[in-house]
Each structure stands twice: as structure tokens, then as C-alpha cells.
């Protein structure tokens, strides 16, 4: 039962994109079309499962001080692997994802799961956690991608939704495909999830899962200290 929970928690309750707010860059960048969302989601899920399994297996051998660089190298290895596979077998997806495919390496979801979960749990649980998180990420991408494609281009997975006769009257709203539309749709989808879940909205990006949390907190502390000293200087 508990294994099932490791899988399902990533789908809705701890959805990496919509609830813990990780991995924003690919979510915004490639969701102009629903089919891109599937490609990106599948690639990220593959890397998540593989890196979670590898890191879970290696957790006893990686010294604590150099764990983050080690995780990044493991992740970068799998990203290179999936890029080569996609380039060979599905070149259309490879071209559509472009620069964002190698950038899966620095996707905070993957590093976050390695740090938060795989380095503390056994292989089976880590693999299921990776699969759940990956599918949750794909679902979120698909939701944002579908909204943007339907409103922005009038198509879904490339299929035209507006009937031939009405094409003169109904024009798709190009703004949804522009970068501005990406920010807007993602903001609205997160607000909708908040409304449905009726919970306190997250204040900022998912700090709890972020490997950089400590340095980020130190940033805020330093800023506060700076402000305090400034106030004292003014006095």
C-alpha cells in the first residue's frame, strides 16, 4: 500500500509543477503545443526514474559534501542518453524541444527529488516516486499546453478545432502562444488548483524541495541584515 502512495502522491497532492512550483522554465517554454508537452513530459519522466534509481543505489557511496555535483553528473548523463535516443528515433520531438532538452539537467524537479527522496529511500520506492512525479509533471504540462494551443492556435494536438465555415469569424487569440500567455495561463491554472483544493496558496516557489534552499534563505537573511544596518545608519 505504501508503495502505491509513493506513486500517487506526485500526481495530484504533491504535483511538482502546480503544488510545489518546481520546474517552471520548461513548463512555460514548451507548452505552446499539447504534443510538445507530452514529449517534454516523457523525456523528463525517463530521466527522473533513471536518476532516482541510480542515486538510490549509489546513496551509500556518494560522500555528503559532494552530493549535489554528483547528482548533477548522474542526471546530465541520463539527459545525454535521452537526447541521443530522441534524436535517433523521434527527430521531430528532438527539434521541437530544442535547447530545453539539455536543460532538463538543471530542472529543479529532478535534483529536488534526488535530494529529498532518492537519497533517503530504497530503489523500488524511488523508482515509483520518480514515475509519479514525472507523470504529474506531464499532466501539468498537458493542461497548460492544451489551454494555450486551443486558445492560441485553435488546434489540439495539431487537429483543427474550428470548423472550416467558421474560420473567418473565429480567429485564435495569438497572445496565448506568446510568452506572455504562458505566464498568464500558468498563473490561472495554479490559482484554479488553489481554489479547488481550497488551501492556503503557496507564498513562493517550492523552497522545501529546492536543493538551494539553504543558500536562498541566507540571501533573505543577508538582505534583512542589510536593511537593518541601513536603518541604523539613518538614525
Amino acid at each position: 500500500m505504501s508503495y502505491l502512495k509513493e506513486f500517487t502522491k506526485g500526481l495530484v497532492k504533491e504535483n511538482p509543477t502546480l503544488v510545489t512550483l518546481l520546474g517552471m522554465c520548461p513548463t512555460l517554454a514548451i507548452t505552446t503545443m499539447a504534443s510538445n508537452a507530452i514529449g517534454m513530459g516523457a523525456a523528463a519522466t525517463f530521466v527522473l526514474i533513471c536518476s532516482n534509481v541510480a542515486i538510490s543505489l549509489l546513496k551509500k557511496f556518494i560522500p555528503k559534501q559532494v552530493r549535489l555535483p554528483s547528482y548533477i553528473v548522474v542526471i546530465a548523463g541520463f539527459v545525454t542518453l535521452i537526447s541521443l535516443i530522441l534524436q535517433a528515433f523521434v527527430p521531430a520531438v528532438y527539434d521541437a524541444l530544442g535547447i530545453y532538452l539539455p536543460l532538463i539537467t538543471v530542472n529543479c524537479i529532478i535534483l529536488g527529488r534526488a535530494e529529498m527522496f532518492a537519497s533517503k529511500n530504497n530503489v523500488a520506492a524511488s523508482a515509483l516516486d520518480g514515475a509519479g512525479m514525472g507523470i504529474g509533471f506531464t499532466l501539468a504540462l498537458l493542461a497548460v499546453g492544451s489551454i494555450r494551443e486551443i486558445f492560441g492556435s485553435g488546434t489540439w494536438f495539431g487537429l483543427p478545432l474550428i470548423p472550416e465555415a467558421a474560420q473567418e469569424a473565429i480567429k485564435p487569440m495569438t497572445i496565448f502562444v506568446l510568452p506572455a500567455g504562458g505566464f498568464f495561463v500558468l498563473g490561472c491554472v495554479i490559482a484554479l488548483v488553489n481554489k479547488i483544493a481550497n488551501r492556503k496558496p503557496p507564498e513562493a516557489t517550492g523552497c522545501a524541495a529546492c536543493p538551494n534552499r539553504e543558500s536562498c534563505i541566507s540571501v533573505e537573511k543577508t538582505e534583512k541584515n542589510l536593511k537593518n544596518t541601513e536603518k541604523e545608519d539613518n538614525k
Binding site: L21, S83, I99, A180, K195, A204, N212
Partner: protein, 200 residues
């Protein structure tokens, strides 16, 4: 003259029309995370710009002098991320030892940059047909663009803090909607660079 013109074009394109944050969606995490105050935005922007230029100066020659002759182009992601992580550590150590005042103001932002996709992104994008000088200028433009976007957005966020927003939108959703409007204003720069320099 011709050289200066093309350099200016690359620089302005990076800052205004093809802004890294607002049109390429690279470096969104720090853009949303550290842009609460203008001082934080400035510090982060400076640190990112410096690391981008240094990382390009190291990775570009390595790619063309080492990876290409050996036929190992596909290893670029692994090599670049390691070099960026190393560079960030190195800069941190050097600053701490020799320029402690600068370290005090910028040092805290440096560890955040290792996993910043804008830095890895710019080093990878520079491989797409830029010369060495052009890629350095492109990195400078990308870094400055990042800083400009952060600074503008920190101002917007300052106003947003004092607004009464619907409960479901409070926090991150309204920040994203505000970012969408800022991004929309950058659409207005489209065609500006071509207009200034008489077309590419």
C-alpha cells in the same frame, strides 16, 4: 564599424527583443524567487552576468578545440554543467579571499547560479553559429537582459505586495500574471533592433 554594429545588434537583441527571462523562459526560478527587492535583483543580475561571460569564455574554446576534434560533441551538456559548477565555486573562493567587500554583497547569490538554467542555456545557445567574440557579447546581453527584467519586476512586485488580490490568486499565481504583463510590454520592443540598424 561593421563589427561594432553587429555587436550592438547582438547586445540589444539579448537585452530587449529576445530577453532571456521574458521571451526564452530561462532562469525563471531566480526571477520569481529573488526579485522581491531591487537590491537582491541587482546583486543576482550582476552575479549571473559575470558567471555567464566567464562560463562562455571557458566552454566555447573547450567545445571547439577539444570536443569537436575528438568527435565528442554529445558530451557538451555534462562537460558544461561541470565547468559551470566549478567556475561558481572558484569565483566564490577567489572573491572571499581577495575582494571580501564584493563577496559580502554578491557571494550569497553565487551558489544559486549553479543550477540556473539561464547560464547553461546561454553556453549551449552560443554554439549555434556565433563566433567567439559574438558569443561573449551575447552572454553579456543575456546577463544584462536578465538583470533588466529582474529590476523591472522587483518594482512591480513592490506594488503588488500592497494590493488586495483574490484569495486563490494570492502569492505565486498573481506574481505569474504580473510577469505576463511585464512580458507583454517587452513584446513592444519587437522590430526595434532591426529598425535601429536598418535590418539584418
Amino acid at each position: 564599424m561593421e563589427l561594432a554594429k553587429s555587436m550592438m545588434m547582438i547586445l540589444l537583441t539579448g537585452i530587449l527583443t529576445d530577453n532571456f527571462v521574458l521571451s526564452k523562459f530561462l532562469g525563471i526560478c531566480p526571477f520569481l524567487g529573488v526579485s522581491k527587492t531591487s537590491s537582491g535583483s541587482l546583486g543576482m543580475g550582476c552575479a549571473v552576468t559575470a558567471v555567464m561571460i566567464l562560463a562562455t569564455a571557458v566552454t566555447y574554446p573547450l567545445y571547439y578545440l577539444f570536443l569537436v576534434p575528438m568527435g565528442l560533441e554529445y558530451l557538451n551538456t555534462i562537460l558544461f554543467i561541470l565547468i559551470i559548477a566549478m567556475l561558481v565555486q572558484l569565483i566564490e573562493m577567489v572573491l572571499k579571499k581577495y575582494i571580501p567587500t564584493l563577496y559580502k554583497s554578491l557571494g550569497v547569490y553565487l551558489p544559486l547560479i549553479t543550477t540556473n538554467c539561464a547560464v547553461l542555456g546561454v553556453t549551449l545557445l552560443n554554439l549555434e553559429g556565433y563566433s567567439f567574440l559574438e558569443s561573449i557579447v551575447n552572454s553579456l546581453g543575456a546577463g544584462l537582459g536578465f538583470m533588466v527584467a529582474m529590476l523591472i519586476f522587483s518594482g512591480v512586485r513592490g506594488r503588488l505586495e500592497r494590493c488586495n488580490v483574490p484569495k486563490a490568486f494570492a502569492g505565486m499565481p498573481i506574481t505569474l500574471v504580473a510577469a505576463s504583463i511585464v512580458s507583454l510590454s517587452f513584446v513592444g520592443f519587437g522590430g526595434l533592433v532591426d529598425g535601429l540598424f536598418g535590418g539584418a
